[in-house]
């Protein structure tokens, strides 16, 4: 349970400002603490809050960046940039303005689109790194992995806005209003982008269905 700020019990090195019930087990992710409270604790100098925010939002940024870029190293760079923007903006974060996750989805997506546009002028740097073994879980089934790889390859053939819409909608599981907010467009435009993307993906993936055990 979030206990609020108690400077008297704070420690400058670890857990500054985050007093916890000593009867509770230690939770490195602080999963029961709201995003905004964690950000406020980070701003107050809490190292544990920094760690929890990293573990909560680092994978989120990386996941979107990887689906958008298809390359592990580039996805890590973009995700690190997005998180850096979060650290810098933290002192000025207005409570209730927007969800931190929504803000990060927007920042990450925009950084990815900027990166893709720059990359389109640099030939020879466009091969998606979809088969990177370090990215995919070794314990997952080969079939899931093959389908996921096939989808990633297909995603990379979509226009960037369609790819962004489909990743946020069908992989990240966001609602259309949220996606519209992230993409700074209307809900109707999101539905249109998503519809066109699905039709394109169906066309690209249909020939592979038999090979991937879907018939």
């Amino acid at each position: 349970m979030w206990q609020g700020f108690h400077p008297a019990t704070s420690c400058p090195e670890v857990g500054f400002g985050l007093a916890r019930n000593t009867m509770m087990p230690f939770d490195a992710n602080m999963s029961d603490i709201r995003d905004e409270d964690l950000l406020a604790a980070f701003t107050s100098g809490d190292a544990l809050a920094a760690k929890a925010l990293t573990q909560r939002f680092g994978p989120l940024c990386y996941g979107v960046a990887f689906r958008m870029l298809g390359n592990q190293a580039e996805a890590e760079d973009i995700a690190q940039d997005a998180m850096m923007k979060l650290w810098k903006m933290a002192p000025d974060w207005e409570s209730g303005r927007a969800k931190i996750s929504t803000w990060l989805y927007r920042i990450t997506s925009n950084l990815c689109i900027d990166h893709l546009r720059r990359r389109s002028f640099a030939p020879g740097d466009e091969v998606p790194d979809v088969a990177d073994e370090s990215v995919l879980s070794a314990e997952s089934s080969l079939q899931n992995k093959a389908r996921s790889d096939a989808l990633q390859t297909a995603l990379m053939q979509l226009p960037e806005r369609q790819r962004q819409a489909i990743v946020l909608r069908h992989i990240e599981g966001l609602s259309n209003p949220e996606i519209a907010q992230i993409m700074e467009t209307s809900i109707e435009a999101v539905e249109s982008l998503s519809g066109r993307a699905k039709r394109a993906l169906t066309d690209i993936l249909s020939p592979q269905k038999k090979a991937l055990g879907l018939i």
């Binding site: 920094a50 760690k51 990386y62 689906r67 690190q80 389908r147 996921s148 069908h170 992989i171």
Partner: protein, 122 residues
């Protein structure tokens, strides 16, 4: 955390839904080194923020800001100086000051005579 829309996959054709399901199961995970780098960024940025917040202000700056900045401070100092002057001035100075004023007023004595004559005529 992220809002998960329970109905987000209803309109997806079944043939590609299998691909989305696989993609969600095979969610790309960042490496440990990446998370360490991000956390180091956070800690470095946190130190900078705390240093900026901890820069000590001089006592002059503190006083100036409490009275509305340097302009407000000058106004207050002027008012204080005038108050002190009035406070330490001797009564003789005050008499001298008042006689100066009354001697100047004597020049307007004709106005008083004029007013009284006019009143009597009425």
């Amino acid at each position: 955390m992220t809002h998960k829309d329970a109905k987000s996959h209803e309109t997806v054709p079944s043939e590609i839904e299998a691909f989305f399901t696989a993609a969600r199961l095979e969610s790309p995970a960042p490496g440990k080194a990446f998370l360490e780098k991000v956390e180091l960024d956070a800690l470095a940025n946190m130190k900078v923020t705390r240093q900026i917040a901890a820069v000590p202000r001089g006592w002059l700056q503190t006083i100036a800001s409490s009275v509305g900045g340097w302009i407000g401070g000058f106004g207050l100092a002027s008012a204080m100086a005038l108050g002190i002057f009035v406070g330490i001035s001797t009564p003789q100075d005050a008499v001298f000051l008042s006689s100066d004023i009354t001697s100047e007023l004597d020049e307007f004595a004709w106005l008083e005579d004029f007013a009284s004559d006019t009143w009597e005529e009425l």
